[in-house]
């Protein structure tokens, strides 16, 4: 078995190890992407309000 194959095989536990690390990567990345999108969406919504010339935003 080559070095890379052995690394991916993880002594027979490859499926368990890599699914754990993969899931962790997904959860950590989602928690960066979604809040940044939310901030941009909030700014866009507030920019639209400014463009419409509304004086007060009552939505929360």
């Amino acid at each position: 078995m080559s070095g890379l194959e052995a690394f991916l095989h993880m002594g027979g536990y490859g499926a368990y190890v890599w699914s754990s690390y993969g899931l962790a990567a997904v959860v950590l990345i989602v928690n960066v992407v979604l809040p940044r999108r939310a901030e941009r969406a909030t700014l866009r919504r507030l920019a639209r309000r400014e463009a419409l010339g509304e004086s007060h935003d009552t939505t929360s």
Binding site: F7, M10, G11, G12, Y13, Y16, V17, S19, S20, Y21, L23, A24, V27, L28, V30, N31, V32, P35, R36, A38, E39, A41, T42, L43, R44, L46, A47, R48, R49, E50, A51, H56, D57, S60
Partner: protein, 248 residues
Amino acid sequence: MNFAFLHKYAALMHCYRLSRALTPWLAGASVLLFAWGLVGGLLLAPADYQQGDSFRIMYVHVPAAWMSMFVYMAMAVAGGVALIWKLKIAEIVSRACAPLGASFTFLALVTGSIWGKPMWGTWWVWDARLTSELILLFLYLGVIALHGALDDRRAGARAGAVLALIGVVNIPIIHYSVEWWSTLHQGSTVTKFAKPSIHIDMLIPLLVMISAFQCYFAWTLLVRMRSEILAYDRNASWVRELSREHGA
């Protein structure tokens, strides 16, 4: 004692700008720490003499589990401050903690389950450690639901803070569950008072991964706080100015 001076430092505009200034550094530090921890945990650490390579799941499972409790305490303390001193910034911290803590708890539960299958022969047992961690996830989901349940976000933050404070009872139960009840879950590997029961080559990547998760939490907490700050201060002149620049 007069806490009015705190309002000056709690001014949301300054917090927003501070978040903008700090997040690139925290992001960079997180990426470096994760890279170091992953190389150490997946390549450099030797396989465990009992668990083989499956023990490497520890490097995501233990930091996630540790953060699930740490973030809960941060959320509860911020919630307590919000209830007592009515500080908006404390409400915002408490609100921003909840989805992050829930994510760490979810990660701890699922990676624990994936680790449990080859080691214990089962995905799940209803023992004290696993059950109390599952209750922690439900507490987080309850707090998130309360945050969104009321039209007034300040009232929602206070409602969430009350549940967060009640749920603090669960934290020592999770921590001591492996000592109080007989359980499949192994005891602590690293404690403050005793020599860790782990080889130094395995321990260093674990400590690096824990710092990486801490740094990542600080980073994403600050990012999450920004949209909360904008929503809280949406009628303040600085937010209106910022949104005009954004729309232009």
